[in-house]
Amino acid sequence: MSDEAVLGKGMRKEYGELVAVDDLDLRVQKGLLYGLIGPNGSGKTTTIKMLVGLLSFSRGEAFLLGEKVPVREKKKLIGYMPQEMATYTDITVHENLELFAQLYSMDEASFSRRERELLSMIDLADRKHSVVSQLSGGMKHRTSLACTLIHDPELLFLDEPTVGVDPELRVGFWKYFAELKSRGKTVMLTTHYMDEAVRCDVVGMMRSGRLIAEGPPKTLMQETGTNDLESAFLEFSRRDAI
């Protein structure tokens, strides 16, 4: 068994003339918190969507937990949280969780246990029966995360999980991500808030559909002689442009 959770080889996505992802090679070790960072339009979301099987490849291939994308066998082990809140707002938190649990064929007992666990983790136990549209923005975000985690996946793809999230909740979210990692899960997330990506084990910097730098945040900052990832990114961009 390979120790890579995600392995992308020459991943490419073209929309006519536009190249959204440009021959990208990716390698994410199991059990790591990997951050794909870069400005809007750099190809982060497209990359994630290709990996979870929502977009076709123009060229190249990728493997998740050893299975070629689009995965079938390993689908149960994967969790995906889209960029938007992506919950059914006209039903309750519980009903949303139950839907996804059933799609993952969870049995009643493990669903109830897992739901209790998750709702207490995201602090929504008392809003279990609230219709999602009546919740605050932060609560909706937490519901969305809970839907992704309901089946206790091994490998998580979180697309811009902290966009539109207030600072307090953002701290909470990073705490959840660290907790997931401590339980041996692999988390691959995207963000354009570069400062918060220091909390990742490994960061991949994307620009124009390509990785321009990759490594632990500290190393990347050292290499560029900068104190924060944003400055490091700008320096790598400058070098890339030459």
């Binding site: 969507k49 099987g53 076709s56 689908k75 889209p82 992506a86 707002t89 799609l103």
Partner: protein
């Protein structure tokens, strides 16, 4: 109120439209479609109603009043005489055959002239002139009364011909020829009995189509569809789940309409209500698929809403909901026969008024089943196709 600010708001809205070519196309096309469809179908009169004529009148051909009436009927296009049995061939077996055809709904009516038609008519005319007792000739018309519009058109047409041939003054107290219409179906059918099945089909179609197109546009916009597709659920399962839910919604609505129609208007359900609901369910499932397919054309809810009349108006006007298909202009009739609603309405009407069973509405069942199956398959394929 400041004009400048009003203009700023108006300008913003028009500018948004400028970038949405599809909406501009809709703004032009939908009213064009509406005015042409309404114009052609409202102005349309019932035409080409298929009938059999059984002429047993034994009078010599050049004196036969029956022959003159038939010639007059054939000179206009309200009736389409599918078969004419002349005096040489017409027997009571021909009458039985014609009646059979009416019962099978192959033709709308059979017009029967008896052996002594001309003679009785002439005697009645003489008696009329002489002021003595008049025994009128009887013109028998067997009609499928399922559609009151058509039944009325047939009777009016025959009356017009009689009037013309005999050159009768109007409002005669005792006419020399009386019509004896015999309704084979829908004896007590009123207009409500005719259009209740139509309204039911139309309502089920509308609700399933609109729910589907709006739900899927929303699912795509809110990325919940992406989320679903990332789980082990298959595309076929998503479509089947939707079809089941919206089919049931269409069904529930039909139960409400049916119950209300029975309780409030005492409409006829001569056949099985379950068969009616099955027809409606199939229609609902198919329209859910159609809604899904069109949701991929619409980029947002705004565009989706504009697609609705595009599907709705042809259905209201051309599927025989309020007007019989015989009133649809012939160049639009192929569209009528391509609309699944036409089959659902015809099927429900046959079950409710004619009291037909599954074997009799097999064509409608098969067409609706095929519609549902094709729509589900195309939707599943559409969902499988990754961008």
């Amino acid at each position: 109120m400041k004009v400048q600010r009003v203009l700023a708001i108006a300008r913003k809205n028009l500018r948004s439209l400028r970038h949405d070519r599809r909406t501009i196309a809709f703004i032009v096309m939908v009213p064009l479609l509406m005015i042409s469809l309404f114009g052609y179908t409202f102005g349309g009169e019932v035409r080409d109603v298929s009938v059999y004529i059984v002429n047993m009148d034994q009078a010599p051909a050049n004196q036969s009043i029956a022959a003159s009436i038939i010639a007059d009927l054939q000179s206009r296009n309200t009736l389409d005489v599918k078969q004419l049995f002349g005096p040489e061939t017409a027997t009571s077996a021909s009458v039985a055959l014609a009646r059979e055809k009416v019962l099978d709904a192959d033709i709308w009516a059979a017009i029967v002239f008896d052996e002594n038609f001309t003679q009785t008519t002439l005697e009645a005319l003489d008696a009329l002139r002489g002021g003595s007792h008049v025994t009128p000739a009887v013109l028998q018309v067997l009609i499928d009364g399922t559609n009151p519009n058509i039944a009325e058109a047939v009777i009016t047409e025959v009356q017009t011909s009689v009037q013309k041939v005999l050159v009768l003054p109007p409002n005669l107290l005792v006419p020399p020829i009386v019509m004896s219409p015999q309704l084979e179906y829908g004896e007590d059918a009123r207009f409500i009995d005719f259009f209740a099945p139509g309204v039911m089909g139309l309502a089920a179609m509308m609700v399933t189509f609109m729910l589907s197109i709006l739900s899927f546009v929303h699912e795509r916009g809110a990325s919940t569809l992406d989320r679903l597709l990332a789980t082990p659920v298959t595309e076929g399962e998503i479509i089947a789940g939707y079809a089941l839910a919206f089919g049931v919604v269409g069904l529930a609505q039909s139960v409400v309409i049916l119950t209300a129609a029975v309780l409030l208007f005492d409409i006829q359900i001569a056949g099985s209500a379950l068969l009616v609901l099955l027809l409606i369910f199939l229609l609902g499932v198919g329209n859910q698929g159609l809604g899904f397919l069109l949701s991929s054309v619409a980029k947002n809810e705004f565009q989706a809403v504009q697609l609705i009349p595009l599907i709705l108006f042809p259905s209201i006007l051309l599927a025989g909901v309020f007007w019989p298909l015989e009133a649809v202009p012939s160049f639009l009739q192929p569209v009528s026969y391509a609309l699944p609603l036409t089959y659902a309405v015809e099927g429900c009407r046959s079950v409710m008024i004619r009291g037909w069973g599954p074997g009799d509405v097999m064509l409608q069942l098969v067409v609706l089943l095929a519609f549902a199956a094709v729509m589900l398959l195309l939707s599943t394929y559409g969902l499988k196709r990754r961008r």
